[in-house]
Structure formats: C-alpha cells, structure tokens
C-alpha cells in the first residue's frame, strides 16, 4: 500500500517537475501588446513546448477558472462562454467544439498550464477581442492594435540602398539626423523581423528608443541619406539611398554634409521625400478603324470625336506641362484593347485616360460619366493571394526582397485606390465645364482599365444618342471645354501624385 502511494507520487512528480526544472523560462519573454500597454506573459518551457500557467491567463485576460476534480479537468470561462480542458490531453473543448493544441494541457500540483497556442486558438474564440500570437517576434496582440510587420534589406554599394517594408501599410515620417535616419511609424508598436547585418554605407538598422521608431545608422563614410516612402497594395515601402560623403564626415556640430539639400543646423530637418516625377501620360482615343463606336444621328462617329479631343489634349499637355503624351492611336486604325494597354504600359506612362462618347437606347440619357475599375471577387482573390504569397528573392547584402506576382491583365489591381481618386478629380473638373450624367462616377469591370499598369480612368464625355448633346458635341466650344476640364484634372492629379505620399 505504501509502495503504491510512493509510486503514484513519483509518477506525478516525474513528468511534471523534472522537465520544468530542466527547461526553465525562455530567453525572451512573450510580450502582450494591447491598447492599454505592454505586459510580459510569464511562460515556462517544458520539453521544448512553451506553456502559460492558467492563473496568469486569469490575471491577463480576466477569465475565471474552475477546477473539476472529479472529471480531472478545468473550465475556463469568460462572459458565459467556456472552455473545458483535461490534463495530459492535447485538445480542449470550446463551447462543445474540439480545438487541438500542439502539446497537452499540463497539471502540475495545484497549477494548470496550457500551451501558449491555447491563447490565439481556444481563448480567442470565446474572448471579445482579437488575440494574435506573433511567434517570430514573441508578441501576443490583444484587441485592435496596429502592429505592422517591419522587415528590411540592405543592398551594399555606393550609393548603398536599403528597403524597409511595412505590412500592413502605415504612415511613416522620416527624419535625417547626423549619421542616421530616423523612421517614425504611426502604429501602436512594431513587429520587427531580425534586422539584416550592416552593409556598404549602412552600419546597421535597429529599433529605436520608442517602440514605433526604427533607426538606420550610417557609417562615417556616408553622406546624407534620402528616403522615399511609397504605399501600394497595403504595403508601405521606405526606400533609402545613402551616397558616399565627398570627404569623410568630421564629428562635431559644425560638420557640413555635401549633397542636394544642405543641412540646416538645429532641430533635425524633415527631409523632402522624393517621389517619381511624372514624365509621360497616355491618352487613348476610344475605338477606331473598323470599330466606329457609337454612331450619331448625323453620321458622326465616336471614333472621330475621341481622336479629335485626344489630339487637343496632347497639344495642351505637351505645351503647358512639358510632359510626353503618348496617344494609343493617332489615326483611324483598329486596335485591340490589349494593344492600347500595351502602348501605355510600355511607354511607362504615369497615367492612362481613355476617351469615349456614350450611347444609350434611352435618348434622354445625357451628361459626362467617369469609369474606374471594379475587380470582381475572383480577381481580387487572385491579387490578394499574389500579395500574400509573393515570392521572396535574396537581396544583395543579405535578407530577402519580396515580389508580388500579379497577372499582367490585372495590373490595375495595384492602382485601384489611386484610380478612384483620379475618377473623382476628373468628375470635379468636368462638372465645372460640361453637363454631367445622373450618376457621374461608376465603377465597372472595364477591360482596358484592368490591364493598365498605372492609375487609369475612362471618360464618356457626352451622349451622342441624345439629340441636343450630339449637336453640341460637334462644336469647337464643347470639344475645347472637355479638353480644358481633362487638362485641369491631369494637373491636379499630377500634383497629388508627385507630392510626398502620406498613406
């Protein structure tokens, strides 16, 4: 009898306390991040598995725990919903549904311990706030916290380039200080991947003193760094370029660093963020050749009107804005929609505008309309999958660079938001000059726009099937008004597009 009790005691003692003593606490604690702040989550390692004592879960999440000695289990409750766990079983029952865990629930004397994964899986399904475990960064996110993943890659050379990627996108303010760039990211915290080793003129990239700052420190041989912030597809990328200093930097407040922007003493200046200046725009005169488009009552054809307005626009933009203007056609020829998109894409145009004249069976339809692309759910899925999966390519100087592979004929997916803004600007400028339709902005699955690798919109300037509009369409006055309105919209959209981007 005595021997049995001893054996039983040993059996309890051996599996629970021995690995406990051996494995101990993990080197880096898990940190709980919520709107209320940060708190450490005390965990222990047992047999390579990380466990959280249930009494800590009670303290952190306000759940109640009731032990059921008879059943050999424990019930975790939160606001009337409960999870039932049993000792040594790698699963729990959440409101009657089984949730598997990577390792068993452990009972150690009077203490219960659950695998850390219990929190984002089982507890999350009865809790009223989101619980997300970021294993790599050892963070436990609770509630609506913005904690973008931040990764960086350095490409050595002169200039040395670095790319900091922030997912999901967040506003970034870049400050140039002596010998370093300071990135302030507007978020509740950062989920910082292991930074790459320094290379070239960049000494290292590390987290700053505050939880939302990142510091790019430069070597003594570096000149003034520049940074460009761009956001697309819900990813913010900060491209940093560090040229070599003309002469080695001398430490001291008087030091002058040669470069395009001479440094101002005093508070660290906010560096101008250089974005790609526009060089080219593409204008697509709708239809052409065999495809006449809408035919008006007096034999006027859409294809003639669109070419006429496109040529006027080209002259205005080239003369007044100094931009290169590509017309997808400058004569009466038949072109497929892919050929039109290819002209704009190959010409690296910063903007594509397709000009059309509308037609309707209802002859009372009148006014201008602007279309921008709507992706169907399936295409959105394809694009999202490409953005999530992506392809990681090794970057020079260590780290990786991610490429999102989007089907070429869905190129517009990256520019949906910009194109929506473009459509708005076009509508605002058009309504100053010409009558608008009852619903002046429409989002639709437009074939040409889908393949455009730049912000793009399609403009239906008026209804050729409306007798009054058809008569006006032929006048110099009307064509000049349309060209003026679209020109003004190009000016406004270009100004927005070239200004430092705040996502």
């Amino acid at each position: 009898m005595r021997a049995t009790t001893l054996l039983a005691a040993l059996l309890i003692f051996v599996p629970t306390t021995r690995p406990y003593a051996q494995d101990g606490t993990p080197a880096t604690p898990v940190t709980l991040v919520s709107r209320e702040g940060r708190r450490p989550v005390p965990t222990t390692l047992q047999g390579g598995r990380e466990l959280v004592p249930l009494d800590e879960v009670v303290a952190l999440f306000g759940v109640s725990v009731r032990e059921d000695a008879l059943a050999g289990g424990v019930t975790v409750s939160y606001r009337g919903r409960s999870i039932v766990a049993s000792a040594n079983r790698p699963m729990v029952s959440v409101e009657g549904r089984i949730v598997t865990l990577p390792s068993p629930v452990v009972r150690s004397g009077r203490r219960w311990l659950v695998p850390i994964e219990f929190l984002p899986t089982a507890l999350a399904s009865i809790y009223d706030r989101r619980i997300e475990l970021r294993r790599a960064s050892r963070l436990l996110l609770v509630g609506d916290v913005r904690l973008p993943r931040v990764s960086a890659a350095i490409i050595a050379g002169s200039p040395t380039r670095a790319e900091v990627e922030i997912v999901p996108a967040a506003p970034v303010a870049v400050t140039v200080e002596r010998g370093r760039l300071l990135l302030r990211i507007d978020a509740d915290g950062l989920d910082l991947a292991t930074p790459p080793a320094g290379a070239g003129l960049i000494d290292r990239i590390r987290s700053g003193d505050q939880p939302t700052t990142l510091i790019v420190s430069l070597t003594d041989a570096a000149g003034t760094g520049r940074a460009t912030v761009a956001t697309a597809n819900n990813i913010t990328r900060v491209l940093i370029e560090v040229p070599a200093a003309a002469e080695p930097r001398v430490p001291g407040p008087e030091s002058r660093v040669p470069g395009p922007e001479s440094r101002v003493p005093g508070p660290a200046p906010r560096i101008p963020i250089v974005s790609r200046a526009w060089q080219t725009i593409a204008i697509d005169p709708g239809h052409g050749g065999d495809d006449v488009g809408v035919r008006g009552a007096r034999g006027v054809e859409e294809k003639q009107l669109t070419l006429d307005v496109a040529r006027r626009l080209k002259t205005m933009v080239e003369a007044r804005l100094g931009l290169r203007v590509i017309l997808t056609r400058d004569d009466d020829r038949t072109l497929s929609l892919d050929e039109r998109a290819a002209v704009a894409n190959n010409g690296k145009a910063n903007l594509l505008l397709s000009l059309h004249v509308n037609g309707s069976r209802a002859t009372i339809s009148s006014g201008a309309e602007v279309f921008h692309l709507q992706l169907d759910r399936e295409s959105e899925g394809v694009v999202r999958a490409a953005a999530v999966e992506g392809v990681a390519l090794p970057a020079l100087g260590g780290g990786t660079r991610r490429l999102d592979l989007i089907p070429w004929d869905l190129a517009q997916a990256r520019y949906l938001d910009d194109s929506a803004r473009l459509a708005n600007v076009l509508q605002e400028e058009l309504q100053r000059q010409v009558p608008m339709s009852a619903q002046p902005i429409r989002q639709a699955p437009m074939r040409l726009l889908a393949a455009a690798n730049m912000p793009a919109a399609l403009i239906e300037v008026a209804y050729l099937t409306n007798p009054e509009q058809a008569a006006r369409l032929g006048t110099e006055d009307f064509k000049a008004s349309i060209a003026q309105a679209v020109f003004s919209a190009i000016v406004r959209f270009r100004a927005w597009s070239e200004e430092p981007r705040r996502p």
Binding site: G286, H287, D291, G293, V294, R295, E302, S336, L337, D338, H356, V357, N358, G359, S360, R361, A362, I364, S365, E369, F371, D376, R377, E378, S379, D409, S437, A438, Q439, R442, A444, P445, M446, R447, L448, A450, L458, E460, Y463, T465
Partner: protein, 198 residues
C-alpha cells in the same frame, strides 16, 4: 366449250390483276397512313407545356441609367439548363414594356446555355449581340448585366455567368466591359422602384 374456256381465262386474268393491285396498294399504302398519324401524335404533348414559372427579366430603365426587373411567365422546364434556356429565350425575345428600353440588341438569339457543377453558367449568343450593339460604356454594362442578372436571379444553381459569342470567348461586346471571366451579378444597376411594371 371453247367459249366457256375463254370466259374462265378472262375471269382468272381479272382476278390476277386485282391481286396485283392489292399487293401494289399494300406496298405504297402504309407510308401515307403513317404520315397522317404522325401530326396527331406530336400535338398531344402540347397541353403539358401550360405549366409556367414566373421569372424576373431585366430591361433598361426609361432614363437609360439602370436596369428594371420585370416579371414574366415562362414555360416550366424539367431541369436547370432547360429552364435557363427558357428564361434567356424570353429575355431575348420579349419586347421591353414601355417606358423601359431594350438593352440586348434585337435579333440576338441563344445558341447554347449550360451550367457547370461549380455554378458557372455560360450563355452562348448569336453574333448579332456584337454586330448590332449600339455601343456606349453604360449601354454595354446594361446589356451584360441584364443577361447575367436574368440567369442568377432565376436560377439559384448559377452563381456566375460568362457570356460567349458564336461559341467563343470574347474580350468585350462593344469595346468596354471585360467578358473574359465569369461575372457575378451586379444588383447596383437594378432600380427596385420600377419593379412593378408589367
């Protein structure tokens, strides 16, 4: 005696002619009698077709800016595909009740219709849908979504619809709306206020 023999020969010959005539009549006769019966048989199933369902068809709104759903009786069919054909045939043939306007070019006919197990329906239309299309972005949107919505609104088995022309995939009908992929219905174009027009 010889007179009597000659008489017998005459009667015998006549009888032989009658037999031949009957045989000839038997060879050619049945064909005509079967032809006479055939139409009687084909007309008998007609009364079965009086069973109808009420389907929602789509026409252009009077202002040309949207679609109006209009309910029409179409013959009840035995399966989804056949029912789809009936609905689309009605959609293509029915004149738009004033003040609504037609959005599918007149003369367009249905070449084929089928639905996959995944719920993708394919409408194969005759080339008139392209050759007689009057053009215009909105007009083209209305043509496309009148057809897409007519299928999805009436056939729960169809989730998405792809339009083919003359048996082939097409880029667009008139140079604007992307038809390379199956489309989900667009209810934002539908004006519910005018739904009662019958």
């Amino acid at each position: 005696m010889s007179m009597k023999a000659w008489w017998l020969a005459f009667v015998g010959g006549l009888a032989t002619l009658v037999v031949i005539a009957v045989v000839v009549a038997r060879i050619y006769g049945p064909a005509t009698s079967e032809q006479a019966e055939a139409p009687a048989e084909s007309t008998t199933p007609a009364p079965v077709e009086t069973a109808h369902i009420t389907a929602t068809l789509f026409f252009g709104s009077a202002d040309g800016q949207g679609l109006v759903p209009i309910r029409r009786d179409v013959p009840l069919a035995g399966n989804v595909v056949e029912q789809g054909r009936q609905i689309l045939t009605a959609q293509l043939r029915e004149a738009a009740p004033p003040p609504s306007v037609t959005v599918v070019p007149e003369g367009t006919t249905l070449r084929a219709f089928y639905v996959t197990d995944q719920g993708d329906a394919f409408i194969d239309l005759s080339p008139e849908v392209v050759s007689r299309h009057p053009g215009g972005s909105l007009n083209e949107l209305l043509t496309v979504y009148a057809l897409v919505n007519a299928v999805t609104a009436n056939l729960p088995a169809a989730r998405r619809v792809q339009i083919l022309v003359d048996g082939k995939e097409v880029d667009t009908l008139a140079g604007h709306v992307d038809l390379r992929r199956p489309l989900t219905p667009d209810t934002s174009l539908v004006r519910q206020a005018e739904a009662s027009g019958k």
